[in-house]
């Protein structure tokens, strides 16, 4: 959290993720990808490749059918997709 350039942060709840890849498809920065690691249900869950480019737009979380993504954004950036 010390880097100034970083605008957002996401966390993937790997036990909830089913590896459908909808988040990978919609990420404008292309920071997400499906990994080669399995969770306990046997799904290849989604993985963050380069977190530093995350803008915190929350589109991945909006599109996740299983609510497996949590998003944080720097509070001084205007605009909130939630309301």
């Amino acid at each position: 959290m010390t880097k100034v350039a970083k605008k957002g942060k996401i966390a993937i709840l790997k036990e909830i993720c089913k590896g459908c890849g909808l988040c990978v498809d919609v990420c404008s920065q292309g920071i997400l990808g499906l990994g080669d690691e399995m969770n306990s249900k046997g799904y290849y869950f989604s993985r963050i490749n380069s977190e530093k480019n995350c803008t915190g737009c929350a589109v991945c979380a909006e599109m996740c059918p299983d609510l497996a993504i949590e998003v944080w954004r720097k509070s001084n950036i205007s605009g909130n997709s939630r309301k």
Partner: protein, 253 residues
């Protein structure tokens, strides 16, 4: 940093049983967000229909009654008539609403019952293994139409939204999709509007939401998502088909 996305309060913290890439999870979340938005969690009663949508009671933190197959609108009618102060809604699939429950939905809409129906249309019977549904697209292969749906044998896909918007009793009828972020935002607004219609006593409201069914379509989640865009939306156009204005002569509000 501030958390900008979290689980709606009225959605229980339970992993869903839906297949990877199924849009039902998204639609349940949109309903939960609408319930949170109007702060009606305490007075909302859900009716679980039969199909993949049956586990409504596991996911939404509201009171839920389960209805027999196709009869969710009839059960909603009963609840709403005796408990007018409650908000009553159901989530139905296409096998439930458009096949076995056609009679119930048509008459409920025609009577203008003040309830909200969220109709998940994935063009196939999801839970029972991918049989042909009334909404199956022409040429679509299912387990009971292995050569593709043929007009001569099975007829045309039923467009429930167009059908119900022709009835005088219905107040708000719309169709949305959740295949991409822009459509998802529109769907969120339409579902919210449907609940608002009920809160304002305007009468019957229904939102049809197009959904992918990767498992029964035999496609990968992203391919199924693309199919919604390329094949379903041209057959089932999106938009608001009917909306009564509050205070007008034919509204109850």
């Amino acid at each position: 940093m501030k958390k900008v996305f979290e689980r709606p309060k009225s959605l229980k913290d339970t992993p869903s049983h839906f297949c990877p890439g199924c849009h039902s999870g998204l639609i349940h979340r949109l309903v939960a967000e609408a319930i949170d938005y109007f702060k009606i969690q305490e007075r909302t009663i859900g009716v679980a229909s039969v199909g993949c949508s049956v586990f409504l009671y596991n996911y939404l933190d509201v009171d839920v009654i389960e209805a027999p197959h196709g009869r969710a609108p009839a059960v909603c009618t009963g609840i709403k008539r005796v408990r007018k102060q409650n908000i009553v809604f159901t989530i139905q699939g296409d096998g439930d609403l458009a096949a076995i429950g056609t009679s119930e939905i048509i008459h409920t809409a025609n009577r203008g019952e003040n309830i909200t129906v969220i109709f998940i249309n994935n063009a196939v019977y999801g839970m029972t293994g991918g049989q042909m549904a009334p909404t199956t697209l022409l040429g679509q292969r299912t387990t009971t139409s292995p050569y593709g749906r043929d007009v001569q044998q099975e007829g045309y896909p039923v467009r429930m939204v167009e059908l119900l918007s022709g009835l005088e009793g219905s107040a708000f009828i719309a169709r949305a999709a959740v295949n991409k972020p822009a459509n998802l935002m529109k769907a969120k607004k339409l579902i919210r509007r449907a609940f608002e219609m009920q809160i304002n006593n305007m009468g019957f409201s229904m939102v049809e939401v197009l959904s992918a069914c990767p498992t029964n379509w035999g496609l990968k989640p992203l391919e199924a998502n693309r199919r919604v865009e390329e094949e379903m939306i041209p057959c089932f156009p999106l938009g608001v088909f009917k909306e009564k204005i509050q205070g007008s002569e034919d509204s109850r509000g």
